[in-house]
């Protein structure tokens, strides 16, 4: 499924767009925090519309123990080592936010039934690097860096774990955290020697659940950080203030020459656009502001909670979610300063716009999503994080999570929920589980970076 050259991935974003359609996808599903005493697992989902098992979970790789809270994941290799024939996109690194374990999953021996290749024990990571609360995984040529949100005791700001291609701990990646107070997501753009990182909170703050008052007590983030990527240290802070409360996912455009990127500020429900100016410093602006929506049961209007963000491989469309409102949106970002809303669909949420989709009662709202390389199929899941789910959508305990698919119009803009696709994790054999992040074996729109 990968490109024509020797190594993993593709020579360019335009080559990636022409790759064959995905046949399988992997999504994590959790039992941590649900009351079901079973391990979290990596589900393989058949997304080949010609297959008899289309839209079904066809394999479940259980982790060895309970309580990991699998969340995000990433590949051992991507287009950043496309020229290296000794590398292949074979291993998926799957961290447990609560356990600190990192599972290295072999997806190549049998793509439909991946298996655990190696476990990096959470205790070893704590001992060697004083890190806990793993989140974003990016490969870096043939090496791997993973952001962690806390030190071994769960206090901010955490840092970055550096692994070699054999998944051995090299130590901390960064030379300095500077005065960064919190960590979360990061993305890098090597041609500009830049990395951008965002801020959630300390594990001890966000893991037990969300106390709104802790935002006022500055326990949650409101900044973006620009790094000198080669020197591995932060060089500029962009203070977003009330416009950027809890800035979570951060993405650059896929074009490796571009210096434009975006971040979704979850609590403010704003999209922040940032870019490099001619003098080399970085600027930011708010380009999308989702209004809070009134709801009769709430004393104050409901914020959108824009917990994720994604850019299509052709850099034309930006996708955002509003987890508490229940909508997914598509914006044309041809002019990144002036996004144009081109599509919107509803699934679940607290506003009551789409309580049932494709025959399934939706507990939760659109939360994590992955887009096909050609930009036409977006797979969306509904669970955010076990403790936060339990606060805002308590019915997810009995209903479980759901995966839906949205058909995206890449020419004219527009989104439509595919009526033939629904994976109801409420019907899983061990009871209702909750699905979160997804990756495709051949690459997707959040895996690849070009050097």
């Amino acid at each position: 499924m990968e490109g024509l050259c020797c190594g993993p991935g593709y020579a360019s974003p335009s080559e990636a767009i022409r790759a064959p359609s995905e046949q399988l996808l992997y999504t994590i599903a959790i039992y941590t925090g649900t009351g079901i005493q079973k391990p979290d697992y990596l589900a393989t989902i058949d997304v080949d519309p010609k297959s008899e098992s289309y839209s079904k979970v066809i394999h479940r790789l259980e982790m060895p123990g309970i309580g990991d809270e699998l969340h995000h994941m990433g590949w051992n290799a991507c287009s950043s080592c496309h020229g290296d024939k000794s590398m292949s996109r074979r291993y998926l690194l799957v961290p447990g936010v609560r356990s600190n374990n990192i599972y290295v999953v072999d997806t190549a021996t049998n793509p439909k039934a991946p298996r655990i290749h190696k476990i990096i024990q959470g205790t070893e990571i704590k001992t060697k690097t004083n890190l806990s609360g793993p989140h974003t995984v990016h490969c870096l040529g043939s090496e791997i860096i993973i952001s962690f949100l806390g030190d071994a005791k769960g206090e901010a700001p955490g840092g970055y774990l550096h692994l070699n291609k054999d998944f051995e701990i090299l130590g901390r990646w960064e030379n300095s955290m500077g005065d960064i107070p919190f960590s979360y997501d990061f993305w890098y753009q090597p041609r500009h020697n830049v990395m951008v990182s965002s801020e959630w909170a300390a594990p001890n703050t966000f893991m037990p659940g969300f106390d709104l008052e802790e935002v006022g007590h500055l326990k949650y983030g409101r900044r973006l950080h620009i790094w000198d990527f080669e020197k591995k240290k932060p060089i500029q802070t962009m203070y977003l203030g009330e416009d950027g409360l809890i800035p979570l996912e951060v993405k650059f455009l896929h074009n490796p020459n571009s210096c434009h990127g975006f971040c979704g500020a979850a609590l403010s429900a704003n999209v922040i656009h940032f870019w490099k100016t001619k003098n080399g410093s970085w600027e930011w602006e708010k380009i999308i502001d989702i209004d809070n929506e009134p709801q009769p049961d709430w004393p104050i209007p409901i914020p959108g909670v824009m917990s994720a963000l994604l850019v299509s491989m052709d850099d034309k469309y930006l996708y955002i979610n509003n987890w508490l409102h229940g909508d997914m949106r598509q914006y044309d970002i041809t002019d990144p300063h002036n996004p144009v809303l081109t599509g919107q669909v509803w699934m679940g949420g607290l506003l009551g716009k789409a309580p049932i989709v494709n025959g399934v009662k939706i507990a939760g709202g659109p939360q994590m999503y992955q887009l096909s390389l050609d930009g036409k199929r977006m797979y969306v899941t509904t669970s955010l994080f076990s403790t936060w789910d339990n606060q805002f959508y308590p019915e997810i305990r009995t209903n479980g999570g759901v995966m839906l698919m949205i058909n995206c119009d890449v020419k004219n803009g527009g989104m439509k929920i595919n009526e033939d696709f629904v994976v109801n994790f409420g019907n899983e054999p061990n009871g209702p589980s909750r699905c979160h992040e997804s990756r495709y074996p051949g690459g997707d729109c959040t895996s690849d970076i070009w050097l």
Binding site: T32, G33, T34, G35, Q37, I66, G67, D68, E69, R98, S99, N100, S132, K153, G154, P203, N204, M207, P208, G209, F210, D211, L212, E213, E214, H217, K219, D297, W298, P299, I300, I302, S386, T387, N390, Q391, F392, P394, R397
Partner: protein, 122 residues
């Protein structure tokens, strides 16, 4: 030895030494309990203490309202006396709340940021 009764498991009764976290002691006796971080930071193992006393001073996950509602973090809490608990998600009725609909008062926040409630003069 301390007697631990799990009320919502048909009052199943266990004896523990009280020198290790209850999660470890009860799991070694075969009790199937949820857990996550195992250092007192993530709330997954929370149980509700109905009777008795524990030492859970190293927990950092609970806010003061949750503590006042009887929640204890089993992965760090040690039994100081005989105790009776409800365990698992059935005991979590007051653990999770919508933070917008039901905000915390300043004295109900986590210990490091909570204000001390002033006593009213009668």
């Amino acid at each position: 030895m301390k007697k631990i009764i799990i009320a919502n498991r048909n009052n199943a009764t266990y004896e523990v030494k009280g020198n290790k976290p209850l999660l470890l002691e009860l799991r070694s006796l075969g009790v199937d309990l949820p857990y996550g971080c195992q250092y007192g930071g993530c709330i997954t193992c929370a149980a509700k203490l109905i009777k008795g006393k524990v030492d859970q001073k190293s927990q950092v996950a609970l806010n003061n309202r949750q503590i006042n509602d009887g929640y204890v973090i089993l992965c760090v809490a040690r039994a100081k006396t005989d105790c009776t608990f409800d365990i698992g998600v059935e005991s979590h009725d007051k653990l999770y709340r919508n933070p917008f609909i039901d905000p915390l008062a300043p004295h109900e926040l986590k210990a490091d940021i909570a204000t001390i409630r002033e006593l009213k003069d009668d």
